[in-house]
Symmetry: C2
Subunit: 478 residues, 2 copies
């Protein structure tokens, strides 16, 4: 895009959703497609997702999970087999009615998630307790038709992974819920994003699950983003699809199942947690480019000298960092600084004739805007420290922000003054949550794990005045 | 699967397609799904695809290609814009007519390939010659409704990568065709599979392309498998979707485009090229397990000794090889030998009390069935040599097989005696190819690159007797 066409980024304080859209566009993460509700993820945005995916893949493989691929099509009758499941997903289905030039006798849904696509086959694979546990994962696209699409966070088609397990016992399956929740928490840590982990309410749990746990993230406008979920499905699907096994006791038992998933929503969360008025800010772990070198020169002679020096730096650090020289002619250094700041590159090295002469670079940190001049010989030692410090600083900023934006409230009347999240003692009555949603567009986000076994601070529910069960976190959400 | 249920593998010589189906099932590569024409790829089969994918990804990234993700849905009107393209793909389309509980005004095809999904956006991204070349790749699922499905080779849904480029000039785009063809050839080399590379006939080229090149592979029944294709699209799509650029000359020009793709058909090719009557044989590069250790013991005391010894070996070589110990109780060594032979694991190490006492292993090679006893201290040096030798031996067997199964023929009458491929001098008249297809189910497979600038051996076409242009390869195909 030529300079003249450059559009500015709306300030976060003016209009956060507009700011988000601007950053997604200007950083060339993604854009809308011709198909309403579906997005095009551009190379820079997709690379971030691939780096997240690589880390999660590694974790799953280390944990013994194997990958599988099931068809994108699910017979409608399978989806309809589990009552809660179909109620939850029916409104969002895309349906194939014609294929190969003919009308299909059995219409096919495009998977919105794969429980109904996989578990009849699990029933075939699982015969005896010796076939358990079965722990499989699928990297795939899924489709949930969205009325109000938003880049990464709510597109009608999205990429994700979905894990699907079968265990002999409830205890094992419940342990799996927490194990996966912790892995998801680690993946967000890897992105320098603090999370709030715990259980979902009855209204907010996955359609068909006994229990849903969640990794919740706070965006910079004080809304919540559901970052990943890990479900205990009980024997709900096993009973419908016949996933049972012959136990060591000689009897037949239903398997206890889980599903757990993380999608490229995580890229949207990343933008909303770390971004600022100048654009993206990326932690080094998932930055497609960790170091950008910008050469500064006036004429052909200095150009070659400067570029040679840049090349030496790139060669020196290229095996340890994702590093790039911005060699474009016809763009000013100022344009390039801005270009890479918008894209959130953690470290910029500026190299001019002065730097060449003194064997130095000027190092700029995107996270805090600090510049310092550094001798080349100090760079090897300094870079790991700086990268780790950028990660830590982004993480701490997000922690501080969250802490400031969670208030404790005791009554319904206080809700109207809340800009971010709030904690309140709640009866867990689904009816009260519906009232809250209708009146304020707020729902419960999570019962934190550490609050699960704690008495609520207030004995009375902040909505109904009835007996409160736990202290929950509430918020508006994406 | 319990031993009692074990089904045997049909002999290749008796019924090759049945043999193929048996191996795919018994090696647990894949199985049919409830959705006709779509398959389920199991962990062992998917891991092979992931290893192929990792190597191709690395090659593409090294070559500066970036990944992108476009929606799975393509507006029908886009597909209909390029006349040849829609004619080629219309019979295979799956169409979404309903989504989100409503009938769609504009029906959506599921991508059979993404030219029509991407190039309107390319038109937006490309303004000036400075935006060129554009070289993007997508790893995705596509759907082409199959009347006669076959595991990996012809499923209605398959996974692949599709590269899509735009260049300023025809020369550059034609050079890209060959560059990608060579990369595909290398990927098949990586799988120890020899290939026949060159140009496709007018009838057999990609719908919408000016020219298609192909990587052809010979299966062990003498049929051909199209392993990957690399197309020069000319300005056909560019003219339809408006992919033009302002040249340095100040004028507007259409971009010259390519598309190129490789799918998990490559896994099917692998089975059909290397497999034997005992099942799969995998070259080490893409073997999910490169070394299987089978412990042999009679009682609890020897069991522990043997397992400890196996553990030591695994620890010693685990960082250099994908290695696994088959610790299953209740299965005989003989069962385990067969189990891993069916799955094509290149090297088996047998460890019994004798081996423990003498600090040795018995090493079995799947490619040639040879066993040898080897001292543990020699294993570090021997393994790289053995792995490389297995690769080379599988490759050479396939080369020898191909050489034996290509005959030269001069006339139509000789066709009926051909079991494998044949070479013949051909007029390249599409009508003669139609006759050949109708009568014998045979089509041209490839005009080898080295034959492109050679005069045909026979001046007369083997079908029509008219002037022959080149010597082509012909075969039945999957």
């Amino acid at each position: 895009m030529a300079i003249s066409e450059k559009r500015t980024i709306t300030k976060q304080a003016i209009d956060f959703p507009a700011w988000y859209q601007d950053v997604v566009r200007e950083a060339e993460l993604a854009e809308s497609s011709e198909v309403r509700g579906c997005g095009i993820v551009r190379p820079y945005g997709l690379k971030i997702w691939e780096l997240i995916k690589a880390e999660l893949s590694r974790r799953l493989e280390d944990d013994g999970v194997e990958n599988v691929y099931f068809p994108i099509f699910v017979p409608l009758e399978n989806l309809e087999a589990e009552k809660d499941h179909v109620e939850g997903f029916a409104p969002e289905l895309a349906v194939v009615t014609h294929a190969g030039g003919e009308e299909l006798t059995n219409k096919l849904a495009i998977r919105p998630t794969s429980e109904a696509a996989m578990y009849k086959t699990y029933a075939k694979w699982i015969q005896s307790y010796k076939d358990l546990p079965l722990r499989l994962n699928q990297w795939a696209n899924v489709v949930r038709w969205e009325k109000r699409p938003r880049a990464f966070l709510r597109w009608s088609e999205f990429l994700w992974q979905e894990g699907h397990t079968a265990f002999a016992t409830e205890d094992e399956a419940r342990a799996e819920v927490i194990k996966m929740l912790d892995i998801y928490k680690d993946i967000y840590d890897f992105m320098a994003i603090p999370t709030f982990t715990g259980r979902k309410s009855e209204n907010e749990k996955f359609a068909g699950a006994v229990m849903t746990t969640t990794v919740e993230v706070m965006a910079k406008d004080g809304k919540a983003i559901q970052g990943a979920t890990s479900h205990y499905l009980g024997t709900n699907f096993a009973e419908v699809f016949g996933v049972n096994y012959l136990g060591a006791d000689g009897n037949s038992h239903f398997a206890h199942q889980n599903s757990w998933g993380l999608s490229w929503r995580s890229v949207g969360a990343l933008v909303m947690v770390h971004g600022d008025d100048n654009g993206l800010r990326l932690p080094p772990n998932i930055a497609p480019i960790q170091i950008i070198i910008v050469p500064i020169y006036k004429d052909e002679v200095s150009r070659q000298q400067v570029l040679d020096f840049c090349g030496t730096i790139k060669n020196k650090f290229g095996s340890n960092y994702r590093i790039k020289i911005d060699e474009r002619d016809g763009q000013t250094p100022g344009f390039k600084f801005n270009y890479w700041e918008v894209r959130g590159v953690p470290v910029r090295l500026e190299v001019g004739l002065k730097e060449v002469a003194e064997n130095k670079v000027t190092l700029f940190r995107r996270d805090n805007g600090v510049k310092e001049v550094m001798a080349i010989e100090d760079l090897s030692k300094a870079l790991p420290v700086i990268m780790s410090d950028i990660h830590q600083s982004l993480y701490q900023q997000a922690v501080d922000f969250s802490a400031k934006h969670i208030n404790r409230i005791e009554s319904w009347d206080e809700i109207k003054d809340q800009a971010g999240w709030f904690e309140a003692s709640w009866s867990e009555d689904p009816e009260t949550e519906k009232q809250l949603k209708e009146k304020y567009g707020i729902v419960s986000r999570v019962l934190l794990r550490e609050k699960e076994n704690e008495a609520p601070k207030n004995k009375k529910c902040f909505i109904s005045g009835q007996e409160a069960k736990h202290d929950w976190l509430f918020a508006k959400c994406y």
